[in-house]
Symmetry: C2
Subunit: 280 residues, 2 copies
């Protein structure tokens, strides 16, 4: 059962011994029960405050196919129509989120599974229709997250587990990219905690050669990042993730790590893990 | 955004000005958007601490049919096989729960949608196999709910919204009857709050004549209940609900009200609503 903590009503103070890890996992963890099992043990072993953010995985696509809902793409961008929103609300908010929570509880993390609607934690705006109508997609802005609100839940002894859903405050759930949710949470909570943002994905980190896991780049700062981009070492799919990461760092997040979930356990032993992005 | 409260670490003290309403809604509210809309406004207008518990509705049955999952009944009792558990996790824990939360947020209730796995709030035991294997069904016992744990969340400014799912603490989600969850929550929280349990259903309350909504019985005490049973005024479907209700009252719940969600608004004006079950 949960620890009972005290809820601070003091003004926001950055406290050096208050570390927060915000960890985002994707399909390679969610779709593989062995990976998920190992991840959950490593997540639970990490000290300090923690937030888990998860994306979708294959289940939503499979359910959509079974229900005969066609994936709608415009210019390669996925559209969230009302039927797709129903599916992701069921799969992200229900099936995936609640099974992760049950597993975390099994190993002793007092998890609470959330969308951005719960606790009004992440309020977004439906993306305006310009050239493309993306449907029920919510864009995060600087007012989307009140860090005190989430801190309030964590200080009461609970570990938030967010799925890729938000709301507009007018009763409408919206689909929001999980990477974006993770970085927005990190930026907001960096006002209250020493925040490290971790993206777990299917590679060991940022690689010089995408086909060689031994070509891991251990550290990247903004200057180095510019070089890697101009050398085209960083490929197109990594660019939005890296841009998000450096934006978060410029907004107060202590560090961003990009790595494989298998290596998360190294963190608690203070061993290097993945690619560390930092300010300098 | 949430109120910031203080979390009490004092021993359990029954405080007279701390009222809690635990309200259970069923299909007639969930399946009808007008009823749900009206209910949510009335729920939000109620003063004090509140917990919402919701059951299923037609959506789970419809989704099961679409997915080709046959409803399994043994001796008229529903069996929760693994496929059905997946469906109810998606529908109860995702679709219904998160849409109710988004609507509550719209009207100003700082709701958090939960299963019993979240926060380890309701831990149950998988029903033992005797004559019938009910599958993934969780039975509540007196150790299932730690009232301080839920109080902790409420005192931090959040309004819990529970669906009909629990967990066994070993990573397994389980299906648990929503009426039972509501009464178990009421009994547990009666140790900390002046607790009133409200069952909203499709009738105005307990009726002398099931076909005559004007035959509402305003109040029933245990003695009167025995009379009504022996006169067979209380019909079979109502018996488990009423037995649960009087059991809750004998365990410290102040009162139980059985009524129609349309009439919930009367409560805040201190007008009689539905059938009031009380100790004497």
């Amino acid at each position: 059962m949960s620890k009972i903590g005290t809820v601070s009503t003091h003004p926001v103070v950055l406290n050096d011994d208050r570390n927060l890890y915000i960890i985002k996992i994707g399909g390679n963890v969610i779709d593989n029960s062995e990976n998920l099992h190992a991840f959950i043990k490593d997540f639970t072993a990490l000290p300090g405050f923690k937030i888990l953010v998860h994306g979708g995985g294959k289940v939503a696509t499979q359910l959509s196919e079974t229900l005969g809902i066609e994936a709608k793409l415009v210019d390669g961008r996925r559209i969230t129509d009302i039927e797709t929103l129903r599916v992701v609300t069921m799969v992200y908010g229900g099936l995936i989120n609640k099974n992760i929570v049950a597993q975390l509880q099994r190993f002793g993390t007092n998890a609470i599974g959330l969308t951005g609607a719960d606790g009004d934690f992440i309020r977004t705006k439906k993306r305006p229709i310009k050239d493309i109508d993306y449907g029920f997609v919510g864009d995060i802005n600087e007012k989307s997250i009140d860090p005190k609100n989430i801190s309030n839940l964590m200080e009461a002894g609970f570990t938030p587990v967010f799925c890729a859903l938000t709301h507009d405050g007018e009763g409408q759930l919206l689909n929001t990219n999980a990477d974006t949710i993770a970085s927005a949470l990190a930026v907001a909570l960096a006002k209250l905690y020493n925040t490290t943002l971790i993206y777990c994905f299917e590679k060991k980190g940022v690689l010089k050669d995408i086909n060689d896991e031994d070509s891991l780049i251990r550290e990247i700062n903004p200057h180095h990042y510019d070089e890697l981009k101009s050398q085209k070492v960083i490929h197109s799919g990594m660019l939005p993730k890296m841009d998000n990461a450096f934006k978060a760092i410029s907004c107060g997040v202590k560090a961003v790590i990009i790595g494989h979930s298998d290596d998360l356990g190294k963190l608690k032993h203070n061993k290097p893990f993945g690619t560390l992005l930092s300010k300098s």
